[in-house]
Symmetry: C2
Subunit: 208 residues, 2 copies
């Protein structure tokens, strides 16, 4: 190992995300409101999932589920369920994801949380299980939005849709509930609104 | 601009997050269960906030609020409110954040969502406002966990605590509700449990 780079230039013990990566994920990334026709492939979605799956969830519950709305027929069923202001942008997106929370996430706990032998049974009887699913899927939605950006794509997350209709039309035979709908693709013409201001540190953080 | 690097090596039109950054945020990052005594400064917390504040929320609502539990007295009030399994790790953390959702986020909408003049009034009367706050603060919690890692620190997010007690003890005079408690610092001895498995792509994603 005489030529190992850490002998001449020791790695920082605490690397931080470089500026370009900070820009890519946070500062220069924007919610896209129009998209080009360039397809988003299953391989790209798989790469996003294989990255964001590592983000932590309570009890490793991982309740996030994704429905890729790809076929013309499925897209036609989704569009009227979107709020009017979200229809044109959804129609322009090469791919739209329904992000759902699986209220039956506990069925996976014997595999995903093996050191707590009673986890599945105790969650099966837990009246707050769907709330836990929604909470953790929402955290994972945060990871997902950044993961889409990490792979060089633009995300267009939307909360404005008919949740009862999306549940019935797309998740009817499951215990999943829709959390958000997310367009994904390359930004198209006039993709961005003017950036809205963020709250100041002092408005958000208190120290005690 | 004859020496501009893009004449010899054009930048990719779609940059992606490099492998080291993917490792830092997702693949090699782990939930820490013990911490060194190295302090986490207000400047570090500010740097984290100034990064993650850019993550998108519905209506730019930004309901995330943070209480930095710094003083010995505040730490002593928090510890008995944590689940038993979370007390030792919280006691070992140089800094603990209470992550809350502000049900009164709508008061900021005239500044943060200025193009919708009626946003504050329509949300003031909205029976689902606290639910919207919790949902968007949870998405922001996802950004926050990755932002802590982006700044080279380890996060220890916890859902196991007495939410009623934390609300009463730390958020009593606000319309904020606790969402999570997050330890933050440098990982200490035996900081990691064995990594639990993640669900396969096929278990999470369906295409229609």
């Amino acid at each position: 190992m005489a030529t190992a780079p850490d002998e001449t230039r020791p790695a920082s013990p605490h690397p931080i995300l470089d500026e370009a990566a900070q820009d890519l994920l946070f500062r220069e990334a924007r919610t896209a409101n129009s998209f080009t026709a360039e397809p988003v492939t299953d391989e790209q979605v798989r790469a996003i999932y294989e990255l964001v799956k590592w983000g932590p969830t309570a009890m490793n519950s991982q309740p996030l589920r994704l429905v890729l709305v790809r076929s013309a027929g499925a897209r036609e069923r989704l569009l009227p369920l979107m709020s009017e202001g979200n229809r044109a942008k959804t129609a322009s997106a090469p791919l739209t994801l329904i992000v759902a929370a699986d209220g039956d996430f506990h069925e996976h706990l014997p595999a995903t949380f093996p050191h707590r032998a009673d986890a599945r049974e105790s969650l099966a009887a837990h009246p707050g299980r769907e709330r836990i699913a929604h909470f953790n899927a929402s955290i994972q939605l945060g990871y997902l939005i950044l993961g889409i950006r990490a792979l060089g794509l633009a995300a267009g997350p939307m909360a404005g849709f008919d949740a009862v209709g999306v549940k019935k039309e797309f998740l009817g035979d499951t215990n999943q509930e829709p959390v958000a709908v997310v367009n994904i693709g390359r930004p198209g013409p006039d993709a961005w609104f003017q950036r809205n201001p963020r709250l100041d540190y002092e408005q958000v953080v208190t120290t005690i």
